[in-house]
């Protein structure tokens, strides 16, 4: 592999010496060894199909972006330490010990060139969960102190302060300003509530109307819900950076706040990885089942729709494309809710060639949005997606994930793209039957 142009960054905290880094990665990998991981690694037949599912490979045709290759260090370590013939691999050094250079080299592959979108897991003839392996790989990288600095720093900051970056004013204040600006009442810090809600940081800063829309819908539905000023941010940078501890700390903030108000349901806003983190990972990280249901906002609204509580007006017949956020739809299992909502509004939906469970990622997921150096690669992958959206002939472009919107927004500016990514929930909010 050519490493000439490859760059990597080191975290400020965590292990610093080469030996400590390797040890950290090994320790982290070892935590994930198990039967399922074993089967996934042992069954690979090197058929290369996963590359054909990966937008980074399709966009670049560069073999190094083959998904299964991105987890090579972990495969190697598994074979050497935990596989059926590990003692022989070790004895004869058939799989050499991982080096810090390899880990550094792989940083780009595991972080810049993977959105953890999980599309490759659907094509693999052996049924290998490539995306899960990459998640394990990222965790090892964090514990080696080799997660990209941007992600690691934000994860640590968020774990400590509740939000990933310094802010001019507390989010609670920002939230009430949004409520005032959009003339929506946003309940904050209620003592008791049935439903606990949080909001995407990115929407609060750059797309506040989406946050207001969510509150508006919930108000209309007369849901007894609340935000908590110490747990407003939905994002989980711990998940992006690959840190179990930080991810857990960040998740616990929401979990504890929801427990405190006695919530039966936590509604995750339009934010993909937040949904995966809370819906499918938090219970395992915390070590116990969560005492409430976790629902994505579209899922929650679709339930209300099915119950007849939510009634919607018909929208215009503008041709509309919908981008399925990987972590909510393909990986999260919220397969039908967005389409049920759109159907109820009579949206003239023009499906992309790859949609629903098989849609291409926006290119920005998995923390890639935050990596400055990943931009050139990301744009290449996004070009693919933009062409696919254009091919539908749609004028309106909806999605249900704020991170996806950030990615599309960025691409829009870069490519002078003619579409503006809009929030599905906002469309719902605007079309509630009075």
């Amino acid at each position: 592999m050519s490493t000439a142009t490859q760059s990597f960054t080191r975290q400020d905290a965590g292990p610093q010496s080469a030996d400590e880094r390797v040890e950290g990665a090994m320790r982290s990998f070892a935590k994930e060894f198990g039967a399922l991981v074993g089967m996934n690694i042992e069954s690979c037949i090197h058929c290369g199909m996963c590359a054909e599912a990966c937008h980074f490979y399709i966009a670049t045709e560069d073999a190094k972006y083959t998904p299964i290759l991105k987890v090579e260090p972990f495969k190697k370590i598994f074979r050497r330490e935990s596989g059926a013939f590990a003692p022989f691999f070790k004895l004869f050094n058939l799989k050499s010990k991982i080096t810090v250079e390899e880990l550094e080299e792989w940083q780009e592959l595991m972080f810049d060139s993977c959105n953890q979108c999980g599309r490759c897991s659907l094509v693999c003839p052996m049924g290998i969960e490539v995306a899960d392996l990459i998640e394990i790989g990222r965790r090892g990288m964090y514990d080696a102190g080799l997660a990209p600095k941007e992600l690691a720093d934000r994860a640590r900051y968020q774990a400590e302060h509740g939000h990933p970056e310094e802010v001019d004013k507390p989010y609670a204040e920002l939230l009430s300003e949004i409520g005032n600006a959009h003339d929506v009442e946003i309940p904050l810090d209620k003592a008791k509530a049935d439903v606990f809600v949080c909001a995407p940081r990115s929407d609060m800063i750059s797309n506040p109307s989406a946050v207001a829309a969510m509150a508006k819908v919930l108000n209309k539905l007369k849901v007894n819900y609340t935000f908590a000023s110490n747990a407003i941010v939905a994002e989980n940078y711990g998940h992006y950076a690959g840190s179990r501890e930080l991810q857990k700390t960040i998740s616990l903030r929401i979990i504890d706040a929801a427990k405190k108000v006695g919530a039966k349901t936590v509604v995750v806003p339009e934010c993909g990885h937040a949904y995966t983190a809370l819906r499918w990972q938090a219970a395992d990280l915390v070590g116990e089942a969560l005492p409430f249901k976790v629902r994505h906002v579209t899922e929650f609204l679709a339930e209300q729709l099915a119950d007849g509580k939510l009634k919607l007006n018909q929208v215009d017949d503008e041709a509309t494309a919908f981008h399925d956020p990987c972590k909510i739809v393909r990986k999260g299992g919220v397969m039908d809710a967005p389409r049920e909502l759109m159907k109820a509004m009579g949206v003239n939906l023009k499906e992309m060639a790859n949609h629903q469970g098989y849609s291409f990622c926006c290119g920005g997921g998995g923390g890639v949005n935050d990596l400055e150096r990943a931009k050139p690669l990301r744009y290449k992958a996004q070009e693919l997606k933009l062409h696919e959206i254009d091919a539908t002939g749609a004028r309106r472009f909806l999605t249900s994930c704020s991170d996806c919107r950030v990615a599309f927004e960025d691409a829009r500016e870069f490519f002078n793209w003619d579409k503006q990514p809009e929030s599905l929930v906002e469309l719902v909010a605007a079309n509630i039957k009075e």
Binding site: M26, R27, F29, A30, K31, F33, E81, S82, G83, A84, F85, A86, P87
Partner: protein, 358 residues
């Protein structure tokens, strides 16, 4: 056998023929039969006849060892160079237990006399295997072990023809577990030309054909099992009239099914044709009347070394050749045990590596 010639001068076969009143036409026909059988070019018949006429009529010592007399039975049913011709015209059969009138010491004396008179020139035919365990005590004759008798008889032989699977390769006596330590002639005698004519029994025409061709032109071209290539150059399968069914994938599945009645290939019923080198398919038996495969039974491969130990005669050629006495089950149990140990080791290593943090 008393018609002794002066020890230094046997008559030529031509002279013997002339005396017996065998005409030229008859002799040429005889030679043509043999050359045709050996697949020699037709033009070579004249030269073959010339060489055979010029050859000295040899003394033949026929030594039986651990045998069943089946080979001799087969030999006496030879049709091509008929036996009476062979015995009285072509060769001088000076010793054969079964055929000669003399017995006991008289017979042995005749053998010793013939060996002495024709030292270095007689042809030794052996049938039966030679038991070697307990110093050869499993097989004795006239107070000597077969080993001793063979070594003694081999010393003055111009060539040895080992007829039958036993003399050639040890045969049935050498089949597992070979209690007598039976071996073939070539396993014991290393310093004499040996021609193996294996089969159980060998084809009579092949036996006589080998003898006559030896007289005419010496030791023929042999394969690695010392068999004359003229008779053992092709497999039964190559020459089998059922081959076309094999090529079309038509196999009899049992001995009385439609396929068997239609004469389809017997491969699946255990036919050894593909790995057996012999002339049965071309010369056939009983004067060309039929042969085993034509009679509906697969070849059992009797002209091949150790043919008794190649699995059941009714099992196909690809069948396993080992007795599974639970070794695979032990291997399976061991695999599970080692796998479990490996997993245990891996989990301990995992705990150690992970620092037991969780």
């Amino acid at each position: 056998m008393s018609n002794k010639n002066p020890r230094n001068q046997q008559p030529t076969i031509g002279e013997v023929m002339d005396q017996a009143g065998v005409g030229r036409r008859q002799f040429m026909k005889y030679c043509a039969g043999i050359t045709a059988m050996m697949a020699m070019p037709p033009l070579s018949t004249a030269a073959f006849a010339r060489d055979l006429r010029a050859a000295r009529r040899p003394s033949v010592i026929y030594m039986p060892f651990q045998e069943c007399t089946g080979c001799l039975e087969s030999l006496t049913r030879s049709f091509a160079p008929a036996l009476e011709n062979l015995m009285f015209n072509t060769i001088s059969l000076d010793y054969n237990h079964t055929l000669q009138a003399a017995a006991g010491e008289a017979a042995e004396a005749a053998r010793h006399a013939a060996m002495e008179e024709n030292f270095g020139e007689y042809v030794l035919i052996c049938d039966g295997s030679i038991p070697t365990k307990i110093n050869g005590a499993y097989g004795t004759s006239d107070g000597h072990t077969f080993i001793q008798q063979l070594e003694e008889a081999a010393e003055g032989a111009a060539a040895i023809v080992a007829v039958g699977a036993c003399a050639a390769f040890g045969g049935v006596a050498a089949a597992h577990p070979n209690p007598t330590g039976a071996v073939g002639v070539a396993d014991l005698i290393k310093d004499r030309p040996i021609i193996n004519v294996p089969g159980c029994p060998p084809m009579p025409e092949v036996m006589t054909g080998v003898l006559v061709s030896f007289l005419a032109s010496g030791v023929p071209a042999l394969d690695k099992h010392l068999r004359p290539k003229a008779f053992f150059g092709d497999t039964i399968h190559d020459r089998c009239y059922r081959r076309r069914f094999y090529d079309r994938g038509l196999f009899a599945k049992s001995f009385d099914d439609e396929g068997a009645r239609n004469g389809w290939c017997l491969y699946e019923l255990g036919c050894r044709g593909p790995t057996t080198y012999n002339a049965c398919a071309t010369i056939k038996w009983n004067g060309g009347a039929s042969w085993p495969v034509e009679a509906g039974h697969g070849c059992i491969g009797c002209s091949e070394p150790n043919f008794w130990d190649q699995g059941g005669f009714y099992e196909p050629l690809s069948a396993k050749l080992f007795e599974e006495r639970g070794q695979a089950a032990v291997a399976a149990a061991a695999g599970v045990a080692v796998g479990a140990a490996a997993a245990y080791g891996a989990r301990r290593r995992q705990k150690k590596l992970a620092g037991d943090a969780e």
